[in-house]
């Protein structure tokens, strides 16, 4: 005797529902069948799928929904994989290449190169000194290799984010329709808990392939650079655009000569955010075999090795500080050159 029997009885749907009692029974069902007293109004359950199913077995249960989704996904998995695998294969190559390069170049060449990059980006000896101290500290406590792996992954993923994100942002800034279409997707990517979109990726790709975590990082980190490119171009002073039009600039001249340079501070802010988010994701991605400092954090959690976890966490913080300060210094330089 289920609560909502009356609905199906009064609608004359009892036949359609079929016989009760068949099908699978959960523990709750068994317990409920013991209890024969009529339920009071106070205990009226919400007419959810499971509760309606009790009254009428023809109605699906909620677990059918999730299993349906799963089998649906498994059904298209092969064809999806057939398309996505070759398309994303270069990502694996890039990641492997970068990981190889960052690790095979000896430290006494790698560190000066990185410091030179820091100097070119920031033109500040103070910052170079700080970065040198941090990297040497990491190397001193034998975290250099892990840090380099993490940096290699961030390097590749952020680069791809910028290469894809800036054009998408530009396209969005030129079409309101496109902006309306893409904004919800960006919102979803940004709010979805990072673990959640590892799930379909694990089904699609082999867990040993670098592109699995590469895609996860890119999806997670590409949002700010798209958003801020779009915003930056839309915020370019209308008077300047009008002047460019009045002197007969073509769309291309306007884009490269006016819009992108004037949007550069915003685009750079987006790049900064993208790099920081890929760092956050690369730690989580260690769950799906991404190498680097995240592996140590994971080890700390799994084996309750407190010291390992804390020190690698500190290493991640140091990397974050380095990346943030350097990109911010570059951003500040762009800003001052534009007033």
């Amino acid at each position: 005797m289920a609560t909502y029997d009356f609905i199906f009885n009064s609608l004359g749907l009892r036949k359609w529902c079929g016989e009760k009692g068949g099908g699978s029974m959960s523990m709750d069902d068994l317990l409920a069948s013991q209890d024969t007293s009529a339920p009071s109004l106070w205990e009226l359950p919400f007419p959810s799928l499971d509760n309606l199913n009790e009254a009428c077995p023809a109605i699906a249960q909620t677990r059918d929904l999730t299993s349906g989704l799963e089998s649906g996904f498994l059904a298209i998995k092969d064809s999806l994989k057939f398309v996505l695998d070759p398309v994303t294969q270069p990502l694996s190559w890039f990641l492997n290449g970068a990981l190889n390069m960052f690790q095979t170049v000896p430290w006494f060449i790698m560190v000066p190169i990185m410091l030179a990059v820091v100097y070119v980006a920031s033109k500040s000896m103070k910052l170079v000194g700080m970065v040198a101290a941090m990297i040497l500290f990491l190397a001193f406590i034998d975290h250099y290799d892990y840090a380099m792996q993490t940096l290699a992954i961030i390097f590749v993923c952020s680069l791809i984010c910028v290469l894809l994100g800036v054009p998408i942002g530009i396209a969005m800034s030129r079409s309101d329709n496109l902006q309306r279409g893409i904004t919800p997707v960006l919102d979803m990517l940004q709010t979805l808990p990072p673990f959640v979109y590892l799930i379909p990726l694990i089904f699609l790709f082999s867990i040993t392939e670098p592109k699995l975590y590469g895609i996860a990082i890119i999806l997670y980190a590409i949002v700010p650079v798209i958003r801020l490119t779009n915003l930056g171009i839309r915020l370019v002073d209308k008077d300047v655009i009008e002047a460019a039009d009045a002197y007969g600039m073509t769309d291309r001249q306007k884009l490269y000569g006016v819009q992108i340079p004037l949007a550069l501070p915003n685009i750079m802010a987006g790049v900064n955010q993208t790099i920081m988010m890929s760092l956050a994701m690369v730690v989580i991605a260690s769950l799906v075999s991404a190498p680097g400092l995240g592996v140590l954090v994971l080890r700390g959690i799994r084996n309750l090795e407190l010291g390992v976890g804390l020190i690698s966490g500190l290493g991640i913080v140091l990397l974050a500080v380095i990346l943030d300060r350097v990109t911010k210094a570059a951003l500040a330089r762009v800003n001052t050159s534009q007033q």
Binding site: A243, A246, Y247, G248, P261
Partner: protein, 353 residues
């Protein structure tokens, strides 16, 4: 100056809204601006504008904010598309131009100076001034030299490698003017070019413009909301109100014979002695003048200078000359009468106070 028509605007209408074509029918049927907004939800920007602008002259379009003057000037290079009507430049209808022809017009025949300068903040002063030539694809070095020449001409020397934000407003607008001159276009559009500047610098810039114009004889379309500025610069003055032309003509003519209460209100505050010229109030005669003549004055001098010369004596008579030849005479009494403004109209805007 020739009287050849350089730019001609005919029956120009601009209506802002979702369905301008239908709204245009209503306007042509006699619906006015307020009713069009209330009943049909469309904004009437310009209404049946007809203006001819002569080659080598300064045409000033004057009106208060919302009168449609900035909208009008943007139709000349089609930064704004008209709802209906024609704009003819050098004998060709600009409205029929395709994208390529329009770009050529903007690159080669029209330059524009903006109220907010519209300089590129990330480029140097010289690069900004050279922008029209660089846009056309000319050699950058040559363009920079040309720009440097014009920057010097407008009084900016040694600022070539600075950025716009390092200059004051007046200097930035000089860059704006230099940019327009560098493009070597025959037409210059100036959209409230001096309105953002403080009064002294504004006067300087007006003088600079007049001085340049004496040398270059460009066709200048100048937008302003300032009557003094309009009277100082204009060869031909067009007064706009709510999107239609209230009166147009030679500025002196408008001052002496305003045909609308709105204009009477407008001109009642100005210093007539400084604006009115002797030629507008003199008596035309080539006959020798009877009686005593106190002296000779040029027909282009303003009444203020005559009063100064007469030392306040209202009995004097002056001979008016043009290029040294007599073209008329003026007695001080007529002159003083001309200073009395056409009385402020009772049904004008001011009448409500």
């Amino acid at each position: 100056m020739s009287d050849q028509i350089k730019i001609s605007i005919q029956h120009l209408y601009k209506i802002f809204g979702d369905d301008p074509a239908t709204a245009l029918e209503h306007v042509k049927a006699g619906v006015n601006k307020t009713d069009l907004l209330d009943q049909y939800g469309h904004v009437l920007g310009l209404q049946d504008i007809n203006v001819d602008m002569a080659d080598g002259e300064i045409t000033v379009i004057m009106g208060l904010s919302g009168s449609g003057k900035s909208t009008l000037i943007r139709h000349l290079n089609r930064l704004i598309e008209p709802t209906s009507g024609d704009v003819t430049v050098n004998g060709e209808n600009v409205i029929d131009y395709d994208e390529t022809a329009l770009r050529r017009l903007r690159r080669e025949h029209m330059s524009m100076v903006f109220q907010k300068f519209g300089l590129l903040p990330h480029r140097t002063i010289a690069e900004n001034a050279a922008m029209p030539l660089i846009v056309r694809g000319e050699d950058k070095q040559a363009a920079l030299e040309e720009a440097s020449k014009w920057l010097k001409r407008v009084g900016l020397q040694g600022n070539d490698n600075q950025h716009p934000h390092q200059l004051s407003g007046g200097m930035q607008q000089r860059v704006g003017i230099a940019r327009a001159l560098t493009s070597n276009s025959d037409i210059m559009l100036m959209d409230e070019a001096f309105s953002a500047l403080d009064p002294l610098i504004r006067t300087d810039m007006q003088d600079l413009l007049l001085e340049l114009q004496q040398e270059l004889h460009k066709t200048i379309v100048f937008i302003t909301h300032d009557l003094d500025e309009a009277l100082k610069l204009a060869d031909h003055l067009v007064i706009l109100k709510d999107g239609y032309t209230v009166q147009q003509g030679e500025p002196q003519e408008i001052l002496l014979r305003p045909n609308d209460p709105y204009i009477i209100d407008f001109i009642s505050d100005i210093n007539r002695a400084r604006v009115l010229r002797v030629r507008s109030v003199m008596q035309h005669t080539r006959e020798p003048i009877e009686g005593a003549v106190a002296g000779e004055i040029d027909e282009e001098s303003n009444l203020e200078s005559v009063i100064a010369a007469s030392d306040g004596d209202t009995n004097l008579v002056y001979r008016v000359t043009k290029d040294g030849e007599q073209v008329g005479m003026i007695d001080m009494q007529t002159l003083v009468k001309a200073l009395v403004p056409t009385s402020a109209a009772v049904d004008g805007v001011r009448g409500n106070y």
